[in-house]
Symmetry: C2
Protein backbone atom coordinates (compact mmCIF):
# COMPACT_ATOMS: atom_id res chain seq x y z
CA UNK A 1 0.00 0.00 0.00
CA UNK A 2 1.87 3.03 -1.31
CA UNK A 3 1.62 6.51 0.17
CA UNK A 4 -0.45 8.92 -1.86
CA UNK A 5 -0.09 12.71 -1.70
CA UNK A 6 -2.62 15.35 -2.67
CA UNK A 7 -2.59 19.12 -2.67
CA UNK A 8 -5.53 21.44 -2.07
CA UNK A 9 -6.06 25.17 -1.69
CA UNK A 10 -8.43 26.93 0.68
CA UNK A 11 -11.32 28.88 -0.76
CA UNK A 12 -12.94 32.14 0.21
CA UNK A 13 -16.73 32.08 0.29
CA UNK A 14 -18.50 34.90 -1.55
CA UNK A 15 -21.87 33.58 -0.37
CA UNK A 16 -21.15 31.93 2.94
CA UNK A 17 -22.03 28.65 4.60
CA UNK A 18 -23.14 28.92 8.23
CA UNK A 19 -25.22 26.30 10.01
CA UNK A 20 -26.11 22.70 9.17
CA UNK A 21 -29.31 20.78 8.68
CA UNK A 22 -27.37 17.63 9.56
CA UNK A 23 -24.20 18.07 11.60
CA UNK A 24 -22.83 14.57 11.00
CA UNK A 25 -23.18 14.68 7.23
CA UNK A 26 -22.58 18.44 7.24
CA UNK A 27 -25.59 19.10 5.07
CA UNK A 28 -25.62 22.88 5.04
CA UNK A 29 -28.46 25.20 5.95
CA UNK A 30 -27.88 27.11 2.73
CA UNK A 31 -26.03 26.92 -0.59
CA UNK A 32 -22.80 28.85 -1.09
CA UNK A 33 -20.38 30.16 -3.71
CA UNK A 34 -16.63 30.49 -3.34
CA UNK A 35 -13.38 31.27 -5.10
CA UNK A 36 -10.46 28.88 -4.73
CA UNK A 37 -7.19 30.57 -3.73
CA UNK A 38 -3.75 30.02 -5.22
CA UNK A 39 -0.60 30.38 -3.12
CA UNK A 40 -1.99 28.97 0.09
CA UNK A 41 -1.90 25.20 0.09
CA UNK A 42 -2.13 22.10 2.18
CA UNK A 43 -0.23 18.96 1.17
CA UNK A 44 -1.42 15.70 2.68
CA UNK A 45 0.00 12.20 2.42
CA UNK A 46 -2.03 9.12 3.32
CA UNK A 47 -0.71 5.60 3.64
CA UNK A 48 -2.85 2.70 4.76
CA UNK A 49 -0.82 0.19 6.72
CA UNK A 50 -1.97 -3.21 8.01
CA UNK A 51 0.53 -2.96 10.89
CA UNK A 52 -1.00 0.13 12.48
CA UNK A 53 -3.16 -0.24 15.58
CA UNK A 54 -4.61 3.28 15.26
CA UNK A 55 -4.76 6.05 12.69
CA UNK A 56 -1.82 8.42 13.05
CA UNK A 57 -2.01 12.10 12.23
CA UNK A 58 0.86 14.56 12.03
CA UNK A 59 0.20 18.21 11.21
CA UNK A 60 3.17 20.39 10.29
CA UNK A 61 5.51 17.75 11.77
CA UNK A 62 3.71 17.46 15.12
CA UNK A 63 1.44 14.77 16.46
CA UNK A 64 -2.07 16.17 16.19
CA UNK A 65 -4.52 16.73 19.05
CA UNK A 66 -7.10 14.07 19.86
CA UNK A 67 -9.87 16.28 18.49
CA UNK A 68 -8.17 16.74 15.13
CA UNK A 69 -7.23 13.05 14.98
CA UNK A 70 -10.78 11.95 15.73
CA UNK A 71 -12.13 14.21 13.01
CA UNK A 72 -9.69 12.76 10.47
CA UNK A 73 -10.47 9.20 11.57
CA UNK A 74 -14.17 9.88 11.04
CA UNK A 75 -13.45 10.74 7.41
CA UNK A 76 -11.10 7.78 7.02
CA UNK A 77 -13.80 5.48 8.44
CA UNK A 78 -16.14 6.65 5.70
CA UNK A 79 -13.51 6.00 3.04
CA UNK A 80 -12.72 2.58 4.55
CA UNK A 81 -16.39 1.68 4.39
CA UNK A 82 -16.54 2.69 0.71
CA UNK A 83 -13.34 0.75 -0.05
CA UNK A 84 -14.34 -2.17 2.12
CA UNK A 85 -11.07 -2.17 4.02
CA UNK A 86 -10.13 -2.10 7.70
CA UNK A 87 -6.55 -0.93 7.41
CA UNK A 88 -5.59 2.03 9.50
CA UNK A 89 -3.70 4.96 8.05
CA UNK A 90 -0.75 7.23 8.62
CA UNK A 91 -1.60 10.80 7.63
CA UNK A 92 0.90 13.63 7.40
CA UNK A 93 -0.27 17.09 6.49
CA UNK A 94 1.47 20.40 6.13
CA UNK A 95 0.21 23.86 5.25
CA UNK A 96 2.06 26.99 4.27
CA UNK A 97 -0.33 29.23 6.22
CA UNK A 98 -1.80 29.66 9.71
CA UNK A 99 -4.45 27.09 10.61
CA UNK A 100 -7.76 27.64 12.39
CA UNK A 101 -7.47 31.43 12.09
CA UNK A 102 -10.33 32.04 9.74
CA UNK A 103 -8.47 31.63 6.49
CA UNK A 104 -10.27 28.39 5.75
CA UNK A 105 -7.49 25.99 6.64
CA UNK A 106 -9.95 23.15 7.13
CA UNK A 107 -11.29 23.55 3.59
CA UNK A 108 -7.85 22.84 2.12
CA UNK A 109 -7.06 20.16 4.71
CA UNK A 110 -10.14 18.01 4.18
CA UNK A 111 -10.11 18.45 0.40
CA UNK A 112 -6.50 17.20 0.26
CA UNK A 113 -7.25 14.40 2.73
CA UNK A 114 -10.26 13.19 0.75
CA UNK A 115 -8.39 13.07 -2.55
CA UNK A 116 -5.31 11.40 -1.07
CA UNK A 117 -7.18 8.92 1.12
CA UNK A 118 -9.61 7.83 -1.59
CA UNK A 119 -6.75 7.14 -3.99
CA UNK A 120 -4.68 5.43 -1.28
CA UNK A 121 -7.64 3.18 -0.49
CA UNK A 122 -7.83 2.17 -4.13
CA UNK A 123 -11.07 3.99 -4.87
CA UNK A 124 -11.62 5.46 -8.30
CA UNK A 125 -14.07 8.32 -7.67
CA UNK A 126 -15.17 11.28 -9.73
CA UNK A 127 -14.67 14.80 -8.39
CA UNK A 128 -18.34 15.26 -7.54
CA UNK A 129 -18.24 12.20 -5.29
CA UNK A 130 -14.96 13.38 -3.75
CA UNK A 131 -16.62 16.73 -2.99
CA UNK A 132 -19.38 14.89 -1.09
CA UNK A 133 -16.75 13.01 0.91
CA UNK A 134 -14.77 16.16 1.69
CA UNK A 135 -18.02 17.81 2.82
CA UNK A 136 -18.26 15.33 5.71
CA UNK A 137 -14.87 16.45 7.01
CA UNK A 138 -15.46 20.19 6.71
CA UNK A 139 -18.38 21.65 4.83
CA UNK A 140 -16.40 24.26 2.93
CA UNK A 141 -13.82 21.61 1.91
CA UNK A 142 -16.24 20.32 -0.71
CA UNK A 143 -15.74 23.60 -2.61
CA UNK A 144 -11.95 23.19 -2.72
CA UNK A 145 -12.24 20.20 -5.04
CA UNK A 146 -12.59 22.67 -7.92
CA UNK A 147 -10.73 25.77 -9.02
CA UNK A 148 -11.89 29.36 -9.68
CA UNK A 149 -15.58 29.99 -8.87
CA UNK A 150 -17.43 27.08 -7.27
CA UNK A 151 -21.00 26.56 -6.08
CA UNK A 152 -21.97 24.12 -3.33
CA UNK A 153 -25.59 23.06 -3.64
CA UNK A 154 -27.67 22.95 -0.49
CA UNK A 155 -29.25 19.72 -1.81
CA UNK A 156 -31.76 17.53 -0.06
CA UNK A 157 -29.50 14.79 1.29
CA UNK A 158 -26.00 13.35 1.13
CA UNK A 159 -26.35 12.46 -2.55
CA UNK A 160 -27.14 15.88 -3.96
CA UNK A 161 -25.27 18.26 -1.67
CA UNK A 162 -22.05 18.53 -3.66
CA UNK A 163 -19.96 21.17 -5.39
CA UNK A 164 -19.64 22.09 -9.01
CA UNK A 165 -17.57 24.69 -10.81
CA UNK A 166 -19.44 27.76 -12.02
CA UNK A 167 -18.92 27.55 -15.78
CA UNK A 168 -19.67 31.25 -16.08
CA UNK A 169 -16.98 33.82 -15.37
CA UNK A 170 -14.13 31.33 -15.68
CA UNK A 171 -11.88 33.95 -17.16
CA UNK A 172 -12.63 36.64 -14.57
CA UNK A 173 -9.34 36.97 -12.75
CA UNK A 174 -10.12 38.34 -9.32
CA UNK A 175 -7.58 38.53 -6.52
CA UNK A 176 -7.95 38.03 -2.78
CA UNK A 177 -5.68 40.07 -0.53
CA UNK A 178 -5.87 38.55 2.93
CA UNK A 179 -5.07 41.11 5.60
CA UNK A 180 -3.83 39.14 8.60
CA UNK A 181 -4.42 40.86 11.92
CA UNK A 182 -4.31 37.83 14.20
CA UNK A 183 -2.98 34.39 13.35
CA UNK A 184 -3.69 32.69 16.65
CA UNK A 185 -6.14 29.82 16.79
CA UNK A 186 -9.65 31.15 17.23
CA UNK A 187 -11.25 30.41 20.61
CA UNK A 188 -14.54 29.17 19.17
CA UNK A 189 -14.09 27.05 16.04
CA UNK A 190 -16.39 26.80 13.07
CA UNK A 191 -17.63 23.28 13.81
CA UNK A 192 -18.96 24.46 17.18
CA UNK A 193 -20.19 27.68 15.61
CA UNK A 194 -22.30 25.87 13.01
CA UNK A 195 -24.02 24.02 15.84
CA UNK A 196 -25.27 27.20 17.50
CA UNK A 197 -26.29 29.07 14.33
CA UNK A 198 -29.94 28.21 15.00
CA UNK A 199 -29.80 29.91 18.39
CA UNK A 200 -29.72 33.28 16.60
CA UNK A 201 -33.16 34.83 15.98
CA UNK A 202 -31.73 35.86 12.58
CA UNK A 203 -30.51 32.56 11.11
CA UNK A 204 -33.83 31.55 9.55
CA UNK A 205 -34.13 34.92 7.80
CA UNK A 206 -30.52 34.72 6.58
CA UNK A 207 -31.06 31.22 5.21
CA UNK A 208 -34.40 32.11 3.55
CA UNK A 209 -32.78 35.03 1.76
CA UNK A 210 -29.91 32.91 0.38
CA UNK A 211 -31.40 31.92 -3.02
CA UNK A 212 -31.72 35.65 -3.82
CA UNK A 213 -28.09 36.30 -2.89
CA UNK A 214 -26.85 33.24 -4.79
CA UNK A 215 -28.67 34.46 -7.92
CA UNK A 216 -27.17 37.95 -7.58
CA UNK A 217 -23.70 36.50 -7.03
CA UNK A 218 -23.99 34.25 -10.11
CA UNK A 219 -25.22 37.25 -12.12
CA UNK A 220 -22.30 39.40 -10.94
CA UNK A 221 -19.80 36.69 -11.90
CA UNK A 222 -21.49 36.06 -15.26
CA UNK A 223 -21.49 39.77 -16.16
CA UNK A 224 -18.10 40.45 -14.51
CA UNK A 225 -19.95 43.17 -12.59
CA UNK A 226 -17.51 43.97 -9.81
CA UNK A 227 -19.70 46.61 -8.17
CA UNK A 228 -22.63 44.21 -7.87
CA UNK A 229 -20.28 41.51 -6.60
CA UNK A 230 -19.03 43.89 -3.89
CA UNK A 231 -22.54 44.72 -2.73
CA UNK A 232 -23.63 41.11 -2.42
CA UNK A 233 -20.34 39.83 -0.97
CA UNK A 234 -20.24 42.45 1.79
CA UNK A 235 -23.93 42.01 2.55
CA UNK A 236 -23.48 38.26 2.78
CA UNK A 237 -20.46 38.57 5.07
CA UNK A 238 -22.35 40.99 7.32
CA UNK A 239 -25.34 38.64 7.37
CA UNK A 240 -23.22 35.73 8.57
CA UNK A 241 -21.56 37.85 11.26
CA UNK A 242 -24.99 39.11 12.30
CA UNK A 243 -26.01 35.53 13.00
CA UNK A 244 -22.74 34.85 14.79
CA UNK A 245 -23.03 37.98 16.94
CA UNK A 246 -26.62 37.18 17.93
CA UNK A 247 -26.24 33.48 18.65
CA UNK A 248 -25.91 32.07 22.17
CA UNK A 249 -23.11 32.37 23.08
CA UNK A 250 -22.47 35.43 20.92
CA UNK A 251 -19.50 34.98 18.60
CA UNK A 252 -17.77 38.30 18.02
CA UNK A 253 -14.97 37.35 15.67
CA UNK A 254 -14.28 40.97 14.74
CA UNK A 255 -11.46 42.80 16.49
CA UNK A 256 -10.73 46.54 16.36
CA UNK A 257 -8.35 45.81 13.48
CA UNK A 258 -11.07 43.96 11.56
CA UNK A 259 -13.39 46.95 11.77
CA UNK A 260 -10.60 49.36 10.89
CA UNK A 261 -10.07 47.46 7.63
CA UNK A 262 -13.81 47.26 6.91
CA UNK A 263 -14.13 51.02 7.37
CA UNK A 264 -11.03 51.66 5.27
CA UNK A 265 -12.38 49.51 2.43
CA UNK A 266 -15.67 51.45 2.48
CA UNK A 267 -13.73 54.69 2.28
CA UNK A 268 -11.57 53.38 -0.60
CA UNK A 269 -14.70 52.36 -2.47
CA UNK A 270 -15.89 55.95 -2.34
CA UNK A 271 -12.66 56.82 -4.20
CA UNK A 272 -13.65 54.28 -6.88
CA UNK A 273 -10.95 51.79 -5.92
CA UNK A 274 -12.18 48.30 -6.91
CA UNK A 275 -12.16 46.41 -3.62
CA UNK A 276 -14.60 44.87 -1.16
CA UNK A 277 -14.27 42.96 2.10
CA UNK A 278 -15.44 39.56 3.27
CA UNK A 279 -14.68 37.92 6.60
CA UNK A 280 -14.82 34.26 7.59
CA UNK A 281 -15.05 32.89 11.14
CA UNK A 282 -12.09 34.88 12.43
CA UNK A 283 -10.72 38.41 12.61
CA UNK A 284 -8.72 38.43 9.36
CA UNK A 285 -10.16 40.31 6.39
CA UNK A 286 -10.25 39.09 2.81
CA UNK A 287 -10.14 42.00 0.39
CA UNK A 288 -11.37 40.99 -3.04
CA UNK A 289 -10.15 43.16 -5.86
CA UNK A 290 -9.54 43.31 -9.57
CA UNK A 291 -5.98 42.77 -10.83
CA UNK A 292 -5.90 46.47 -11.77
CA UNK A 293 -6.45 47.60 -8.17
CA UNK A 294 -4.49 44.86 -6.38
CA UNK A 295 -1.19 46.73 -5.99
CA UNK A 296 -2.83 49.86 -4.66
CA UNK A 297 -5.01 47.89 -2.23
CA UNK A 298 -2.00 45.91 -1.00
CA UNK A 299 -0.04 49.12 -0.48
CA UNK A 300 -2.87 50.73 1.50
CA UNK A 301 -3.59 47.62 3.58
CA UNK A 302 0.04 47.37 4.65
CA UNK A 303 -0.09 50.93 5.96
CA UNK A 304 -3.06 50.28 8.26
CA UNK A 305 -2.21 49.87 11.96
CA UNK A 306 -2.60 46.27 13.12
CA UNK A 307 -2.15 44.63 9.73
CA UNK A 308 0.65 42.09 10.29
CA UNK A 309 0.89 40.71 6.81
CA UNK A 310 -0.97 40.79 3.49
CA UNK A 311 -1.18 37.58 1.47
CA UNK A 312 -1.91 38.08 -2.20
CA UNK A 313 -3.86 35.20 -3.72
CA UNK A 314 -4.85 34.72 -7.34
CA UNK A 315 -7.43 32.10 -8.25
CA UNK A 316 -6.28 28.57 -7.49
CA UNK A 317 -6.93 25.16 -8.97
CA UNK A 318 -8.98 22.38 -7.51
CA UNK A 319 -7.56 19.68 -5.24
CA UNK A 320 -5.37 17.18 -7.09
CA UNK A 321 -2.92 14.33 -6.65
CA UNK A 322 0.73 15.28 -6.58
CA UNK B 1 -47.55 84.77 26.12
CA UNK B 2 -44.83 83.96 28.63
CA UNK B 3 -41.79 81.82 27.86
CA UNK B 4 -41.93 78.31 29.30
CA UNK B 5 -38.87 76.19 30.04
CA UNK B 6 -38.67 72.41 30.39
CA UNK B 7 -35.85 70.01 31.11
CA UNK B 8 -35.47 66.46 29.85
CA UNK B 9 -32.85 63.76 30.00
CA UNK B 10 -31.88 61.32 27.27
CA UNK B 11 -32.58 57.63 27.77
CA UNK B 12 -30.65 54.53 26.89
CA UNK B 13 -32.70 51.77 25.28
CA UNK B 14 -32.32 48.30 26.77
CA UNK B 15 -34.64 46.88 24.10
CA UNK B 16 -34.16 49.12 21.12
CA UNK B 17 -36.40 50.90 18.64
CA UNK B 18 -35.34 50.60 14.99
CA UNK B 19 -37.68 51.10 12.06
CA UNK B 20 -41.16 52.58 11.76
CA UNK B 21 -44.52 51.35 10.55
CA UNK B 22 -45.43 54.99 9.93
CA UNK B 23 -42.59 57.44 9.46
CA UNK B 24 -44.68 60.61 9.88
CA UNK B 25 -46.29 59.55 13.14
CA UNK B 26 -43.19 57.57 14.09
CA UNK B 27 -45.19 54.51 14.96
CA UNK B 28 -42.41 52.04 15.70
CA UNK B 29 -41.86 48.61 14.20
CA UNK B 30 -41.43 47.20 17.69
CA UNK B 31 -41.90 48.04 21.35
CA UNK B 32 -38.93 49.10 23.46
CA UNK B 33 -37.71 49.54 27.04
CA UNK B 34 -35.28 52.18 28.27
CA UNK B 35 -33.65 53.72 31.30
CA UNK B 36 -33.70 57.51 31.67
CA UNK B 37 -30.29 59.03 32.42
CA UNK B 38 -29.44 61.65 35.03
CA UNK B 39 -26.63 64.14 34.49
CA UNK B 40 -27.12 64.65 30.77
CA UNK B 41 -29.89 67.14 30.09
CA UNK B 42 -31.47 69.39 27.53
CA UNK B 43 -33.17 72.60 28.59
CA UNK B 44 -35.62 74.13 26.14
CA UNK B 45 -37.55 77.39 26.28
CA UNK B 46 -40.57 78.03 24.07
CA UNK B 47 -42.33 81.35 23.64
CA UNK B 48 -45.21 81.84 21.23
CA UNK B 49 -45.19 85.38 19.80
CA UNK B 50 -47.80 86.97 17.55
CA UNK B 51 -45.11 89.20 16.01
CA UNK B 52 -43.01 86.40 14.56
CA UNK B 53 -43.21 85.62 10.84
CA UNK B 54 -41.52 82.23 11.21
CA UNK B 55 -40.59 79.82 13.99
CA UNK B 56 -37.11 80.53 15.30
CA UNK B 57 -34.81 77.85 16.68
CA UNK B 58 -31.51 78.36 18.46
CA UNK B 59 -29.49 75.36 19.63
CA UNK B 60 -26.62 75.97 22.05
CA UNK B 61 -26.72 79.67 21.16
CA UNK B 62 -26.58 79.18 17.40
CA UNK B 63 -29.29 79.51 14.77
CA UNK B 64 -30.23 75.95 13.87
CA UNK B 65 -30.00 74.33 10.43
CA UNK B 66 -33.04 74.32 8.17
CA UNK B 67 -33.44 70.57 8.69
CA UNK B 68 -33.51 70.88 12.47
CA UNK B 69 -35.80 73.92 12.29
CA UNK B 70 -38.25 72.16 9.98
CA UNK B 71 -38.38 69.18 12.31
CA UNK B 72 -39.15 71.41 15.28
CA UNK B 73 -41.77 73.36 13.30
CA UNK B 74 -43.49 70.07 12.41
CA UNK B 75 -43.90 69.35 16.12
CA UNK B 76 -44.98 72.93 16.86
CA UNK B 77 -47.58 72.68 14.06
CA UNK B 78 -49.06 69.65 15.80
CA UNK B 79 -49.20 71.50 19.11
CA UNK B 80 -50.70 74.59 17.43
CA UNK B 81 -53.43 72.41 15.92
CA UNK B 82 -54.20 70.94 19.35
CA UNK B 83 -54.23 74.43 20.94
CA UNK B 84 -56.06 75.99 18.03
CA UNK B 85 -53.53 78.78 17.64
CA UNK B 86 -51.51 80.14 14.76
CA UNK B 87 -48.82 81.99 16.66
CA UNK B 88 -45.27 81.19 15.76
CA UNK B 89 -42.66 80.41 18.37
CA UNK B 90 -39.15 81.25 19.48
CA UNK B 91 -37.37 78.11 20.72
CA UNK B 92 -34.00 78.08 22.44
CA UNK B 93 -32.45 74.83 23.46
CA UNK B 94 -29.19 73.90 25.11
CA UNK B 95 -27.67 70.57 26.05
CA UNK B 96 -24.74 69.73 28.27
CA UNK B 97 -23.60 66.88 26.00
CA UNK B 98 -22.66 66.21 22.36
CA UNK B 99 -25.63 66.06 20.01
CA UNK B 100 -26.31 63.61 17.19
CA UNK B 101 -23.46 61.34 18.29
CA UNK B 102 -25.51 58.36 19.37
CA UNK B 103 -26.11 59.38 22.94
CA UNK B 104 -29.77 59.99 22.27
CA UNK B 105 -29.68 63.78 22.13
CA UNK B 106 -32.93 63.88 20.16
CA UNK B 107 -34.77 61.94 22.88
CA UNK B 108 -34.03 64.66 25.42
CA UNK B 109 -34.54 67.48 22.91
CA UNK B 110 -38.02 66.47 21.75
CA UNK B 111 -39.18 65.49 25.23
CA UNK B 112 -38.23 68.93 26.55
CA UNK B 113 -39.70 70.66 23.51
CA UNK B 114 -43.02 68.83 23.85
CA UNK B 115 -43.42 69.65 27.54
CA UNK B 116 -42.41 73.31 27.12
CA UNK B 117 -44.38 73.94 23.94
CA UNK B 118 -47.59 72.31 25.18
CA UNK B 119 -47.50 74.42 28.33
CA UNK B 120 -46.56 77.58 26.41
CA UNK B 121 -49.51 76.99 24.08
CA UNK B 122 -51.82 76.78 27.08
CA UNK B 123 -52.53 73.07 26.78
CA UNK B 124 -53.09 71.03 29.92
CA UNK B 125 -52.06 67.53 28.91
CA UNK B 126 -51.29 64.37 30.88
CA UNK B 127 -47.88 62.75 30.57
CA UNK B 128 -49.17 59.91 28.42
CA UNK B 129 -50.47 62.39 25.86
CA UNK B 130 -47.21 64.34 26.02
CA UNK B 131 -45.32 61.12 25.31
CA UNK B 132 -47.41 60.62 22.16
CA UNK B 133 -46.60 64.17 21.06
CA UNK B 134 -42.89 63.75 21.76
CA UNK B 135 -42.95 60.50 19.77
CA UNK B 136 -43.76 62.47 16.60
CA UNK B 137 -40.59 64.53 17.01
CA UNK B 138 -38.26 61.63 17.75
CA UNK B 139 -39.50 58.16 18.56
CA UNK B 140 -37.27 57.58 21.54
CA UNK B 141 -38.23 60.99 22.99
CA UNK B 142 -41.55 59.51 24.11
CA UNK B 143 -39.62 57.41 26.63
CA UNK B 144 -37.91 60.46 28.19
CA UNK B 145 -41.23 61.71 29.57
CA UNK B 146 -40.73 59.31 32.48
CA UNK B 147 -37.87 58.48 34.81
CA UNK B 148 -36.10 55.21 35.62
CA UNK B 149 -37.30 52.21 33.55
CA UNK B 150 -39.83 53.02 30.81
CA UNK B 151 -41.66 50.94 28.23
CA UNK B 152 -42.89 52.33 24.90
CA UNK B 153 -45.75 50.27 23.53
CA UNK B 154 -45.69 49.40 19.85
CA UNK B 155 -49.46 50.05 19.78
CA UNK B 156 -51.73 49.95 16.78
CA UNK B 157 -51.99 53.65 15.96
CA UNK B 158 -51.24 57.13 17.22
CA UNK B 159 -53.57 56.75 20.19
CA UNK B 160 -52.03 53.68 21.80
CA UNK B 161 -48.34 53.97 20.95
CA UNK B 162 -47.19 55.80 24.08
CA UNK B 163 -44.81 55.29 26.98
CA UNK B 164 -45.40 54.26 30.53
CA UNK B 165 -43.08 53.76 33.47
CA UNK B 166 -42.30 50.18 34.39
CA UNK B 167 -43.66 49.96 37.91
CA UNK B 168 -41.45 46.97 38.62
CA UNK B 169 -37.81 47.45 39.54
CA UNK B 170 -38.27 51.10 40.46
CA UNK B 171 -35.69 50.80 43.19
CA UNK B 172 -33.08 48.99 41.10
CA UNK B 173 -30.31 51.58 40.85
CA UNK B 174 -28.35 50.78 37.73
CA UNK B 175 -25.71 53.08 36.29
CA UNK B 176 -24.79 53.85 32.70
CA UNK B 177 -21.16 54.66 31.99
CA UNK B 178 -21.00 56.16 28.53
CA UNK B 179 -17.60 55.61 26.94
CA UNK B 180 -17.19 58.37 24.37
CA UNK B 181 -14.90 57.47 21.49
CA UNK B 182 -16.17 59.94 18.89
CA UNK B 183 -18.34 62.98 19.53
CA UNK B 184 -18.66 64.20 15.96
CA UNK B 185 -22.06 64.26 14.31
CA UNK B 186 -22.81 60.88 12.75
CA UNK B 187 -22.85 60.85 8.95
CA UNK B 188 -26.13 58.92 8.67
CA UNK B 189 -28.70 60.00 11.25
CA UNK B 190 -31.33 57.88 12.95
CA UNK B 191 -34.30 59.38 11.10
CA UNK B 192 -32.80 58.30 7.77
CA UNK B 193 -31.71 55.00 9.32
CA UNK B 194 -35.22 54.09 10.46
CA UNK B 195 -36.39 54.55 6.88
CA UNK B 196 -34.03 51.91 5.50
CA UNK B 197 -34.48 49.33 8.28
CA UNK B 198 -36.81 47.32 6.06
CA UNK B 199 -34.10 46.97 3.41
CA UNK B 200 -32.29 44.52 5.70
CA UNK B 201 -33.24 40.86 5.19
CA UNK B 202 -33.08 40.60 8.99
CA UNK B 203 -35.46 43.35 10.16
CA UNK B 204 -38.62 41.22 10.04
CA UNK B 205 -36.98 38.51 12.13
CA UNK B 206 -35.67 41.06 14.64
CA UNK B 207 -39.11 42.66 14.97
CA UNK B 208 -40.91 39.30 15.29
CA UNK B 209 -38.59 38.27 18.10
CA UNK B 210 -39.16 41.49 20.07
CA UNK B 211 -42.06 40.38 22.34
CA UNK B 212 -39.80 37.59 23.64
CA UNK B 213 -36.99 40.02 24.40
CA UNK B 214 -39.34 42.54 26.00
CA UNK B 215 -40.67 39.82 28.31
CA UNK B 216 -37.14 38.75 29.27
CA UNK B 217 -36.12 42.35 29.90
CA UNK B 218 -39.16 42.99 32.11
CA UNK B 219 -38.43 39.78 34.00
CA UNK B 220 -34.79 40.77 34.52
CA UNK B 221 -35.84 44.18 35.86
CA UNK B 222 -38.55 42.70 38.06
CA UNK B 223 -36.16 40.13 39.58
CA UNK B 224 -33.17 42.52 39.59
CA UNK B 225 -31.39 39.78 37.67
CA UNK B 226 -28.35 41.61 36.32
CA UNK B 227 -26.94 38.59 34.48
CA UNK B 228 -30.17 38.02 32.57
CA UNK B 229 -30.40 41.75 31.84
CA UNK B 230 -26.88 41.67 30.37
CA UNK B 231 -27.69 38.75 28.11
CA UNK B 232 -30.82 40.33 26.70
CA UNK B 233 -29.43 43.87 26.45
CA UNK B 234 -26.32 42.79 24.54
CA UNK B 235 -28.34 40.48 22.29
CA UNK B 236 -30.78 43.27 21.54
CA UNK B 237 -28.00 45.75 20.75
CA UNK B 238 -26.32 43.23 18.46
CA UNK B 239 -29.66 42.53 16.75
CA UNK B 240 -30.19 46.21 15.97
CA UNK B 241 -26.66 46.60 14.63
CA UNK B 242 -27.15 43.44 12.58
CA UNK B 243 -30.08 45.12 10.85
CA UNK B 244 -28.09 48.34 10.41
CA UNK B 245 -25.07 46.52 8.99
CA UNK B 246 -27.19 44.56 6.51
CA UNK B 247 -29.45 47.36 5.30
CA UNK B 248 -28.89 49.19 2.01
CA UNK B 249 -26.80 51.25 2.37
CA UNK B 250 -25.08 49.33 5.16
CA UNK B 251 -24.73 51.39 8.34
CA UNK B 252 -21.57 50.41 10.18
CA UNK B 253 -21.70 52.65 13.23
CA UNK B 254 -19.02 50.64 15.04
CA UNK B 255 -15.45 51.90 14.95
CA UNK B 256 -12.33 49.99 16.07
CA UNK B 257 -12.74 51.68 19.47
CA UNK B 258 -16.34 50.48 19.74
CA UNK B 259 -15.29 46.88 19.20
CA UNK B 260 -12.36 47.23 21.58
CA UNK B 261 -14.78 48.21 24.34
CA UNK B 262 -17.24 45.44 23.45
CA UNK B 263 -14.44 42.87 23.62
CA UNK B 264 -13.14 44.35 26.87
CA UNK B 265 -16.60 44.18 28.46
CA UNK B 266 -16.91 40.51 27.47
CA UNK B 267 -13.55 39.82 29.05
CA UNK B 268 -14.49 41.71 32.25
CA UNK B 269 -17.71 39.69 32.48
CA UNK B 270 -15.62 36.52 32.57
CA UNK B 271 -13.98 37.99 35.69
CA UNK B 272 -17.47 38.38 37.20
CA UNK B 273 -17.48 42.17 36.95
CA UNK B 274 -21.10 43.31 36.67
CA UNK B 275 -21.19 45.18 33.38
CA UNK B 276 -22.67 44.84 29.90
CA UNK B 277 -22.60 46.94 26.74
CA UNK B 278 -25.28 48.48 24.57
CA UNK B 279 -24.75 50.74 21.58
CA UNK B 280 -27.13 53.19 19.93
CA UNK B 281 -26.85 54.60 16.40
CA UNK B 282 -23.27 55.75 16.81
CA UNK B 283 -19.84 54.52 17.88
CA UNK B 284 -20.05 55.36 21.60
CA UNK B 285 -20.62 52.52 24.04
CA UNK B 286 -23.01 52.54 26.98
CA UNK B 287 -21.74 50.28 29.75
CA UNK B 288 -24.54 49.37 32.14
CA UNK B 289 -23.40 48.33 35.55
CA UNK B 290 -24.44 47.96 39.14
CA UNK B 291 -23.43 50.69 41.60
CA UNK B 292 -21.02 48.19 43.18
CA UNK B 293 -19.04 47.76 39.97
CA UNK B 294 -19.30 51.32 38.62
CA UNK B 295 -15.97 52.64 39.96
CA UNK B 296 -14.00 49.66 38.71
CA UNK B 297 -15.67 49.78 35.28
CA UNK B 298 -15.03 53.52 34.98
CA UNK B 299 -11.38 53.01 35.93
CA UNK B 300 -10.93 50.26 33.34
CA UNK B 301 -12.79 52.12 30.58
CA UNK B 302 -10.58 55.17 31.02
CA UNK B 303 -7.49 53.03 30.49
CA UNK B 304 -8.66 51.71 27.11
CA UNK B 305 -7.03 53.31 24.07
CA UNK B 306 -9.43 55.56 22.17
CA UNK B 307 -11.76 56.30 25.08
CA UNK B 308 -11.90 60.11 25.21
CA UNK B 309 -14.20 60.50 28.16
CA UNK B 310 -16.46 58.45 30.40
CA UNK B 311 -19.77 59.96 31.51
CA UNK B 312 -21.25 58.40 34.61
CA UNK B 313 -25.06 58.52 34.64
CA UNK B 314 -27.39 57.39 37.38
CA UNK B 315 -31.10 57.00 36.67
CA UNK B 316 -32.77 60.27 35.77
CA UNK B 317 -36.25 61.71 36.18
CA UNK B 318 -38.83 62.27 33.52
CA UNK B 319 -39.17 65.49 31.54
CA UNK B 320 -40.57 68.35 33.60
CA UNK B 321 -41.18 72.07 33.65
CA UNK B 322 -38.48 74.17 35.21
Amino acid sequence: MNPVTAIAHPNIALIKYWGNRDHTLRLPSNGSISMTLAGLETQTTVQFDSHLSADELFINGQKASKRASDRVSDLLNHIRSLANTHHLARVTSSSNFAIAAGIASSSAAFAALSVAAAQAAGLDLDTKTLSRIARRGSGSACRSLYGAFVEWFVGTDDADSFSQPLSIGKDWELMDLIALVDQSEKPYGSTRGHKIAESSPLQTARVSDTPRRLALCRAAIKDKDFELLCQIVELDSNLMHSVMQTSTPALLYWTPETVRIMQAVKSWQSEKLEVCYTIDAGPNVHCLCTPASANEVEHRLKKLPGVQEVILCAQGNGAHLL
